[in-house]
C-alpha cells in the first residue's frame, strides 16, 4: 500500500518570504514523487517530479522540492512567495516497480495563502 500525508491543511506566508509545504510518504519500494497545484475551478497542474538522481528537483514557477529518503519526505519550497502562488497544493506518490500500476496516490492537499 502507498500513502501520502500533508500535515498542514493551510499554510500562510507573507509575499516575498520563503514558503514550505510539507509532504511525507509511505511506500513499500522506491517512489516516484509529484507535486500538483489546483486553482479554483481548474484541473490539477503539474509542478515537478522526483524520479531518480539529484535529491533537489526544480519545477515550474520557481518551485523546488527536496527528496529525503531517510525521512520519507518531499517538501515543496519556494525562496520568495507571490500572491499568485495562493492555491491548493497536492503531493502524490507512485510506485516504481514493474507491475505496481501507474496510479497516483494523493495527499489531502494544503491550501497556501500568500498575503501582501
Amino acid at each position: 500500500a502507498q500513502s501520502v500525508a500533508q500535515p498542514e491543511d493551510q499554510v500562510n506566508v507573507a509575499e516575498g518570504n520563503p514558503l514550505t509545504v510539507k509532504c511525507t510518504y509511505s511506500v513499500s519500494g522506491n517512489p516516484y514523487l509529484f507535486w500538483y497545484v489546483q486553482y479554483p475551478n481548474r484541473g490539477l497542474q503539474f509542478l515537478l517530479k522526483y524520479i531518480t538522481g539529484d535529491n533537489l528537483v526544480k519545477g515550474s514557477y520557481g518551485f523546488e522540492a527536496e527528496f529525503n529518503k531517510s525521512q520519507t519526505s518531499f517538501h515543496l519550497k519556494k525562496p520568495s512567495a507571490l500572491v499568485s502562488d495562493s492555491a491548493l497544493y497536492f503531493c502524490a506518490v507512485r510506485l516504481t516497480r514493474t507491475g505496481g500500476g501507474n496510479k497516483l496516490t494523493f495527499g489531502t492537499g494544503t491550501q497556501l495563502k500568500v498575503e501582501l
Binding site: Y32, R42, G43, F90, G101, K103, G107
Partner: protein, 114 residues
C-alpha cells in the same frame, strides 16, 4: 485540443438516474486515469487504462461504476443508479507513457446528485 477535455463540466442528476461522463485525452497518450475528488479531499484513484485495456479498476467503489475506452482514445465513466454519496468532482488524466511520466489532468466534471 491541447489538453485533456472533459464533458459535461457540471451535471446534476436525480438519485437513481444513470450518468455518463466523457474524457478526451491528449492525442497519442497511452495512459488514461479516472479519479474522484470529494469536497475538501485529494483525488482518489478509480481506474486506469493503457490504450484500450483496463489494467486496474481497484478503485471503483461499487459495481454501479463502469468505465470503458474501446478504441484507446476517448473514455467514458458511467455511474448507474446514482446515489448522493456519488456527488464529487470526477477527474480524468492522461500521460504519454507509463511509469515515471507525469499525468495531465482535465478540469473535471462536477456531479451533484439530488
Amino acid at each position: 485540443g491541447a489538453g485533456v477535455s472533459q464533458s459535461p463540466r457540471y451535471k446534476v442528476a436525480k438519485r437513481g438516474q444513470d450518468v455518463a461522463l466523457r474524457c478526451d485525452p491528449i492525442s497519442g497518450h497511452v495512459s488514461l486515469f479516472w479519479y474522484q475528488q470529494a469536497l475538501g479531499q485529494g483525488p482518489e484513484f478509480l481506474t486506469y487504462f493503457q490504450n484500450e485495456a483496463q489494467l486496474d479498476k481497484s478503485g471503483l467503489p461499487s459495481d454501479r461504476f463502469f468505465a470503458e475506452r474501446p478504441e484507446g482514445s476517448v473514455s467514458t465513466l458511467k455511474i448507474q443508479r446514482t446515489q448522493q454519496e456519488d456527488s464529487a468532482v470526477y477527474l480524468c488524466a492522461s500521460s504519454p507513457g507509463t511509469g515515471n511520466t507525469e499525468a495531465f489532468f482535465g478540469q473535471g466534471t462536477r456531479l451533484t446528485v439530488v
